[in-house]
Symmetry: C2
Subunit: 385 residues, 2 copies
């Protein structure tokens, strides 16, 4: 049910030919209220796509009536014409719904530099068609329409005590959040204020999407939006809602990881006993971005030397001669030296666990990444041509 | 002639079985004076190999009698035993040459975590054999013995006005300098003080090896050493010597780039009109480390959107809607939007030139990198296993 699992939402996904395959490429999610509020987090890439520039402004008052998302073109680096396209899309959807364009969020995904007149007309036509197809069970159709190189749609639902959170996500490459990554729409019928929605969303993305770093490449178009209808009439217990939102976000993040372009391994890099949580994240991310480490995992090679070499490039406090490294449960490195023979490590399963013990403090964090494979290179050497 | 091109040096390279292939794996370069001075720069990776820990201490007084280098094992993360091995190697070579062990530099390269008793004995035996084979024409033999995954030895020579600089280098992976990268030995018969040698070396590496970033992975063992014999008796003109040293370093850096593991393209990323040189370097390095950009070049795809997305992750001042990007001479992006059709760009030559105009100031820098290829993944997924 995706984003229409909670009460108060309608959605649709339609095909207008933005994708050469003819698959669905425009999605609309409408908040029927009674609350029409929301929050969003955006890519921290300073090269931001036109829809990001629009949506960042539009979300500031906390009001969200609807969101329109297209695949098949990022509308990024398309100049003033591209921003006008985003603006026209918001105005067009606002007109169809008889609401203010300032309460419309716009997201685009696909090839950077795509956003000509043909693109504009298709997005506008798709918005019209999607509004005509709006359905209280349209969440799955919307999840299909936002896919790019994804092999499958990503949706998640969690039920609370009288309220529900639903979500959909897309993303298979350029997966490295600075604040948020990929396109994600979350919906809830819980009763929240705009400030509560914002706080919950930032807290949940910080420990879910922000811990995913598939390929170190931060996108220009990433946005995670939470829409609140309040249709359940239930004001949730704060801790329970926070936990449920983290559950939905983590579920979607893991789905993104397991569908990452060309990946053979889903790698969880768990950093324990760091001096601070920031240190743990920095160490995990440094390992996650090390191509030699990532290629070694592809080759089922427990090359812990590359793990330590990557830690050495961080600013985190650590003693190279105190660090322990486990791979899939085998202690391959103790106190910065060899321990168990590498032959004992079985790296054939897709799920891979690397545990790094810095022995500096009490903080920990897990970063989720993928291996570097022939298929990753193949898919990304042929994307736009 | 490599490191024996200048007067006052002898060198040798021998095979002792550190490499399973039986190829040469221990090199020694001896400074016969009359000056016995030198300077060195080291990896800024905080996880430093044992030879780095030794050599950093030994170089502090500016005295260098000889350097011993082994391939076939990095002696990194091998604990106190590994440091003892380095110490014993320095003492052993010092004894053979009847000099102080404090004037011996030691370098190791190969798999991290390799440094057991067999390794130790072979390095000591190799040192003995290399000293017995020392020759005033031994530079090329030494250049062969330091190779790991290199497909060919790297040497360079520049003649000045009465003096000469020679050099050899090895390195084909983990090529991303933080201060220096790879193993490099430079020699000169010019008359320099230790302070002059140090200043020249730092200035030259800053604009040569420090601008090479093949795969973003910083090594634990990198060292660039300059040995000064003064045997020509000529005190060089400062500017001319600096320029010649930069020429030798750049020559070796380009040789390293063109032999990078699995690479199909040698990419020069030229950043112009940056607000500062640091900004230009940061922008160039960010693009050089972007896997999506690197895979696109492998696929002969002039995907300038990935260039701009990479710039957006830096802290350098720039306006995304002012940037121009040229690829192999074709202006594919003007003022942050599409310009010439991508079909006009020919990316089939190995030499690739990307020019980024930030339009912020007068500073510029060029970063040298490689593409991300199937062969890179293949070679690095099978290195240690």
């Amino acid at each position: 049910m995706s984003v229409t699992a909670p009460q108060g939402f309608e959605a649709a996904g339609v095909a207008v030919g933005l994708k050469s395959t003819g698959k669905p490429d425009v999605a609309v999610v409408v908040n029927r209220g009674p609350l029409k509020i929301g929050a969003a987090v955006f890519t921290s890439n300073r090269a931001k796509a036109n829809p990001i520039l629009w949506s960042q402004q539009a979300i500031q008052d906390g009001g969200v009536e609807a969101i329109v998302l297209n695949s098949g073109g990022a509308n990024c680096f398309t100049g003033a014409f591209g921003f006008q396209t985003t603006h026209m899309t918001a105005e067009h959807l606002a007109g169809l719904l008889d609401v203010s364009s300032g309460d419309i969020q716009v997201c685009s995904t696909g090839l950077i530099g795509t956003g000509d007149e043909v693109f504009r007309q298709k997005v506008l036509d798709g918005t019209t068609a999607a509004v005509a197809a709006l359905d209280a069970n349209g969440g799955d159709a919307a999840a299909l329409a936002i896919m790019t190189t994804d092999s499958r749609p990503k949706t998640a639902t969690v039920h609370g005590d009288g309220w529900t959170i639903g979500g959909m996500a897309k993303g298979a490459g350029m997966l490295a959040p600075g604040l948020a990554t990929m396109l994600v729409v979350l919906t809830t019928d819980a009763v929240l204020t705009a400030e509560e929605a914002d706080a919950h969303l930032r807290a949940a993305t910080r420990v879910s999407f922000d811990r995913l770093d598939s390929d170190g490449c931060m996108s220009t178009n990433d946005q995670v939006t939470l829409m609140v209808s309040g249709a359940s009439g239930v004001t949730p217990e704060t801790t329970a809602f926070r936990a449920a939102l983290i559950e939905v976000c983590t579920d979607l993040a893991v789905q993104l990881q397991s569908d990452a372009e060309g990946a053979n391994h889903d790698i969880a890099i768990e950093v324990v006993h760091a001096a601070s949580e920031d240190d743990a994240v920095e160490v995990g991310r440094s390992v996650a971005r090390n191509n030699l480490f990532k290629a070694a995992i592809f080759g089922n090679d427990p090359n812990w030397g590359r793990v330590l070499a990557a830690i050495g490039t961080t600013t985190a406090p650590f003693d190279p001669y105190a660090v322990d490294v486990d791979m899939n449960g085998v202690r391959v490195c103790s106190n910065g030296g060899p321990d168990q023979p590498r032959e004992l490590v079985d790296l054939t399963p897709r799920k891979t666990h690397v545990r790094i013990d810095l022995k500096e403090g009490e903080a920990s964090a897990t970063i989720y990444t993928n291996d570097l494979t022939h298929d990753y290179v193949h898919e990304n050497s042929a994307y736009s041509s």
